[in-house]
Amino acid sequence: MNELELDVELHDQDGRSVCVVTASGDVDLATAEGLRSALGSDQVRGGDALVVDLRKVGFIDSSGLAVVLENSQLRGSAFAIVHDEGSAVAKLFEMTGTTAHVRGFSTPEEAVAGIEREDGS
């Protein structure tokens, strides 16, 4: 699978809107720009917090990593990713020493709850 499909859902969590973007496929030079555009769209930026679910991403390289880190830097504690232990996503973060730079969760539900607690609102 070399295409990247993106699905956007808005969740209401204690009166706050949390946007969950689910990515499926490969994130590389050809598809990273699509992810970047989606995460910067009005719909996604309008949410109070952003969760990117990467559990269905089979391959990711430095182009995709850059998009994730940009958004983490931009949104701080209101940004999190969801990924599986031992996945391509997890390995890339470990290899680049960037694991501590992005909040990671095992499920979208945990991520949504974690973001809310971090913001304290």
Partner: protein, 130 residues
């Protein structure tokens, strides 16, 4: 994309386009053992991405080629371009971590670069598919 029949298990020419990154990954996927699958995919992806983004900056796009062959248990992959070689630049794109990742996933890495182009040689131990 042009494929040729040679001593290499895979030899192909790729256009200077982002879509070539996945084409290159897919072209070698059938050669690689499961244990080294993700390493080879990442190495090839980063090498071809570097060529697409950097090799032809300020000049007409040329050609990117990929050659892969087994050497015993090793898989040897060369990604070449006929661009301007590795040059210092003030323009940045991405994180600039691509070459570091290639170094991380390969057992041997050699880079040959001149004003006629760049070749990245990558060797992966234990990558022969059974």
């Amino acid at each position: 994309v042009t494929s040729q029949s040679t001593d290499y298990d895979v030899e192909l020419e790729l256009p200077v386009a982002p879509e070539s990154v996945a084409l290159a990954r897919n072209s070698v996927a059938g050669l690689v053992s499961l244990a080294r699958e993700s390493d080879v995919a990442l190495g090839v992806s980063e090498a071809v991405s570097n060529a697409v983004v950097h090799a032809f900056r300020g000049r007409d796009p040329g050609t990117i080629s990929l050659r892969a062959r087994h050497d015993g248990e090793r898989l040897v992959i060369a990604v070449s371009d006929d661009g301007g070689g590795i040059r210092p630049t003030l323009e940045g794109r991405g994180l600039g971590v691509g070459m570091g990742l290639i170094r991380e996933v390969t057992n041997e890495l050699r880079i040959e670069s001149s004003d006629r182009g760049t070749t990245v040689w990558m060797e992966f131990e234990g990558a022969r598919r059974r």
